[in-house]
């Protein structure tokens, strides 16, 4: 039987399964973060297991409220540190970075099955890992048993051809795709990316695209493991983790969507839904009080390079706050060495410690009433950045940097 990527990965663990089957699957990594994790730990105790089946494959990340803005979240961090000590699993330090970024740098391998107590766990699909977000109960059960149950999803193939025009990136591609198929357009499905354009889409952009597959409802967003994957793993000092992984040519897809990158333009998701996506020109001139560049979607070194190139020798508009947050400690170190951080600070940016920062409205950039933020994150739901009386537009790092200079929503091609 010819297999999709999803069928191939799950079939390696549960031989013979195909889309529609229920399978119990051994896990390669189970992780939790600091806002959903305390409940996971309580449920693990409540389940009667208490122990983690495979502590060497479990990680706790402190990233969503890091450093903690209040005593309640600080107490949650204490609970998680104690849990790490008791169970023997790894826990990251505040400032190490966002769970999804660190999973891609240090842990995920092609063919892995990964669950995490965060919806953007799906990000590791960029490396050919079947990675999916689950709630606390499922993650607690995963910790207790070392396995999870899954229904093998049907797949959509997104067949990509052509090259990106100047000023257009993977972020614009995924915003466009979600706009086309809708916020529930791929609910339950495996969104699988293929086609001749893949060789040109670097790992940074693949991570952005896979990260946002969940915004169309997908269970996983998968890329094949190819030369780009090999190169990325080598750069992370994990060359031995590479193996090639492709879907079979005759695999059965529920739907095939063809896209030619050359027709794409810089995109924006308007408030308050991700699928409310239009070309950037549709909001040209909208005044913005804050630009937030970072997150598991777009806080990588390539994103900071794009911003630094546009902002070099220029200043952010005085009426616009420019918040920049590298997604991990190692990205911050690289950005310092390459001079990006100096360029960005000189341009008026505030550099935030690696973590989720302003994305989910807990700290480090909560919006005021009526304020508008242009963000490189993955969600613009009402109230997402801490205030239901504020507005969030989503865009690429290039659009964010260009708009920070003018203080209004701007087509980045004007600065390239």
């Amino acid at each position: 039987m010819a297999k999709t990527l999803a069928e191939k990965i799950l079939g390696n663990k549960a031989p013979g399964v195909k889309a529609g089957d229920i399978a119990v699957i051994a896990l390669d990594l189970v992780f939790l973060q600091d806002t959903s994790g305390p409940l996971v730990i309580r449920q693990l105790k409540e389940s009667g297991f208490g122990k983690i089946a495979m502590p060497q494959k479990a990680v706790i990340f402190l990233d969503h409220a890091a450093p903690s803005p209040n005593k309640e979240l600080s107490n949650d961090h204490i609970l998680l540190r104690q849990a790490a000590q008791e169970t023997g699993c790894l826990i990251t330090r505040v400032g190490d970075g966002i769970c999804h970024q660190l999973v891609s740098e240090r842990f995920a391998k092609p063919g892995d099955v990964i669950i995490g107590s965060d919806s953007h766990t799906i990000t590791a699909g960029a490396l050919g890992a079947f990675a999916t977000g689950m709630g606390s109960s499922d993650v607690a059960a995963g910790l207790a048993l070392g396995k999870t149950w899954l229904r093998v999803p049907e797949s959509f193939l997104i067949n990509l051809e052509g090259s990106f025009p100047k000023g257009v990136t993977g972020k614009d591609l995924i915003l466009y795709l979600i706009g086309k198929i809708g916020a529930d357009g791929a609910t339950y499905k495996s969104l699988e990316f293929g086609g001749g354009a893949l060789a040109e889409i670097n790992m940074s952009q693949r991570l952005t695209i896979a990260n946002m597959a969940v915004e169309a409802g997908a269970k996983v967003g998968l890329f094949p493991s190819d030369e780009v994957t090999r190169e990325f793993l080598k750069e992370q000092g994990r060359g031995k983790d590479y193996h090639a992984l492709y879907p079979d040519a005759e695999a059965n897809y529920e739907k095939i969507i063809a896209m030619n990158l050359k027709y794409l333009e810089p995109m924006l998701s308007f408030p308050h839904t991700v699928d409310n996506a239009f070309p950037v020109g549709e909001a040209k001139g909208t005044k913005i009080q804050q630009v937030f560049l970072g997150t598991c979607t777009n806080g990588r070194i390539e994103d900071l390079a794009i911003a630094a190139n546009i902002l070099k020798g220029r200043k952010a508009h005085p009426a616009t706050r420019l918040l920049i947050c590298p997604a991990s400690r190692s990205i911050l170190i690289q950005a310092v060495k390459l001079g990006y951080i100096e360029t960005l600070i000189e341009a008026g940016a505030v550099i935030l410690p690696p973590g989720c920062a302003a994305c989910l409205g807990l700290h480090q950039g909560v919006l005021g009433d009526g304020e508008i933020c242009l963000s490189t994150a993955n969600r613009n739901f009402k109230g997402r950045m801490g205030n239901p009386q504020s507005f969030i537009y989503l865009a690429s790092p290039a659009t964010a940097a260009a708009s920070a200079i003018t203080g209004e929503i701007t087509d980045p091609r004007e600065f390239l």
């Binding site: 229920i22 959903s36 309640e72 919806s119 499922d138 048993l145 529930d184 609910t187 739901f381």
Partner: protein, 180 residues
């Protein structure tokens, strides 16, 4: 399973987990009674004063999209809601609700009006709208999820069975199919 009865509280399409329990209250997640006071605050400001034990949340498409926070079905359950009816439900929320022992049923919710008196038996596959005197059928809950529901959630299930008890390669003619 027992018969559920209560009034319909209607919601529109695309109610996100940020609508159900805003992220800005994350500091209250280790204090669930406090957290629950903010249930659906941004979507229906009067929700917590209006909801009565047994009521049903009756939503449109893609209910519960967004974050994986299980606190969303937890606070809904704490408010006294007995079941969620929707045209479609986001994947993670669907699992989370079942894992909390909260029935989520897929049906044509356009036929139900806000405030209608509803009665439901999970095993029968039918919701009766006593106000409009009509019957609305809902998709079957997949067998393994029904087993979790009957134990009151995944954690009680694991505590009792110590494992996932699933027949190998169980094929499902279920309502996960119909979630899309």
């Amino acid at each position: 399973m027992k018969i559920l009865r209560g009034k319909a509280i209607k919601l529109g399409d695309g109610i996100s987990t940020d609508d159900i329990i805003p992220g800005r209250y994350a500091h209250l997640r280790s204090n669930l009674p406090e957290l629950a006071r903010h249930t659906l605050k941004d979507a229906i400001p009067s929700f917590t004063s209006r909801v009565k034990p047994g009521d049903f949340l009756v939503a449109g498409n893609n209910f519960g999209l967004g974050s994986s926070r299980e606190h969303a079905p937890i606070v809904i359950k704490m408010s006294g809601v007995s079941a969620i009816l929707a045209k479609s439900v986001a994947r993670i929320f669907f699992r989370n609700a079942i894992n909390q022992g909260m029935p989520v049923l897929l049906c044509d919710t356009d036929r139900i009006s806000d405030g209608d008196e509803l009665e439901m038996n999970l095993d029968s596959g039918v919701v009766t709208d006593l106000t409009s005197n009509s019957k609305i059928s809902f998709g079957k809950v997949p067998p393994f999820m029904l087993a979790i529901l009957k134990e009151g959630g995944l954690i009680p299930y694991i505590k009792k069975h110590k494992d996932f008890i699933i027949a190998a390669k169980q094929h499902t003619e279920n309502n996960e199919e119909k979630i899309e």
